[in-house]
Amino acid sequence: MKICICTSGPDLNFPIDQVFGRCSYFLIVDKETEEFKVIDNEAREAMRGAGIAASQIVAGEKVEAVIVGKIGPNALTALQQSGIKVISGISGTAKEALDKFKAGKLK
């Protein structure tokens, strides 16, 4: 299974971005192999509705969960409607978050 980590840089050593809709990158990480795909978040430039546009990008990636600092109400609803679990309030690097997630420490 894959998860999406919202980061400020294009690999796992970067910190988790604090806002979902306007984060810099989505890392779509394979939980088992830790291989990842980098998606540039084009929605961050949106005049409004960045959260919805970002949700549309992430919802197309077949991920089971999203790990982020903060998420707005629109994006939260959109992701939940897409059957994606949202784990917010997370800080530190993407790698740390991934390790915690794999250990079942993130809920």
Partner: protein, 296 residues
């Protein structure tokens, strides 16, 4: 061509926008003072001539927070007209979940969970109608909804206040401004008014553009501060693009630093038409919500 025709029809009605970019510079205060001045001028002409002539309409186009009525000591009672807009409604029996509507929406107001029906997010929707135009299955139908109201207060025999008011939380208020303006123009024709003053919202966004569009003159009200200068620059640029002649009114002119404002007047080759010094009398009257009966 259309513009020219409407100009000929309304040649007796002079349309003036009171705008300025920055908020809190005194747009509404000046609009009211200006309206009062025009009313008095008309009364002078009327008393000397046999024919009773003209009138003034003050049109509050700051529809998200109209307050000219407060400064004129009025109350907004029953609306004279309701303003409607159209929003998308999904017909699930026709929808094929193709996702074109969600891709088209420039406001990101449509979300489509994979394999499910699109969801319209009302808070983000401007009611532009792109979704029902592009839908190849005719599955999106426009649904009418009340978005605002127009109020009329007759203040004197030759002085009317028209107030446009948007429903709180509405995303796009430009169309309400347009309809309020249209209403004001019709009232002006009916009552043979010769001036309409449009008191605009701060900023340079859609409702401000709607208010300035097609005016004969715009007054940009500003103040001698860095923010005042910054926003004056934006509003002068906008008025230039809309091809509306603009004059500058500098409020609280004796406070702050005028250098930046003067640089902008040079850039646009527009002189400061009027400087209003800081006045305690005016502030006091304003804070008491009194009818301001003087023009400096």
């Amino acid at each position: 061509m259309r513009n020219q025709k409407s100009k000929i029809n309304n040649q007796k009605i002079i349309k003036i926008a009171i705008t300025g970019g920055k908020g809190g510079t005194g747009k509404s205060t000046i609009a009211i003072l200006f309206a009062n001045k025009l009313v008095k001028e008309i009364e002078k002409v009327a008393s000397s001539a046999t024919r009773r002539g003209g009138g003034v309409i003050l049109c509050d186009c700051d529809v998200e927070c109209p307050n000219d009525y407060l400064l004129l000591g009025q109350k907004l009672k029953k609306p004279q007209k309701k303003v409607y807009a159209e929003f998308p409604k999904l017909n699930k029996t026709k929808c094929k979940k193709c996702g074109l509507c969600a891709k088209t929406c420039r406001n990101n107001a449509i979300f489509q969970p994979p394999g499910k029906y699109p969801v319209f997010i009302k808070d983000l929707c401007s009611g532009c109608g792109a979704c029902w135009i592009v839908c190849p299955h005719g599955a999106i139908e426009p649904e009418k909804e009340e978005v605002g109201q127009i109020f009329v207060n007759k203040i004197k025999d030759n002085f009317w206040l028209i107030t446009g008011s948007a429903k709180p939380g509405l995303e796009e208020t430009g169309p309400i401004v347009s309809q309020t303006k249209k209403f004001a123009l019709n009232l002006a024709k009916k009552n043979k008014a010769n001036y309409i003053l449009f008191d605009t919202a701060p900023g340079i966004h859609c409702p401000v553009i709607s208010a300035i569009l097609d005016c004969d003159l715009a007054y940009a009200v500003t103040e001698p501060t860095p923010m005042g200068a910054h926003d004056l620059n934006l509003i002068l640029d906008l008025c230039q693009k809309l091809k509306v002649k603009t004059k500058i009114i500098l409020n609280q002119a004796n406070l702050g630093d005028k250098t930046e404002i003067e640089n902008i007047t040079k850039k646009y080759k527009i002189k400061i038409d009027k400087e209003i010094p800081y006045s305690k009398k005016l502030v006091k009257a304003y804070s008491q919500g009194k009818l301001l009966n003087f023009f400096i």
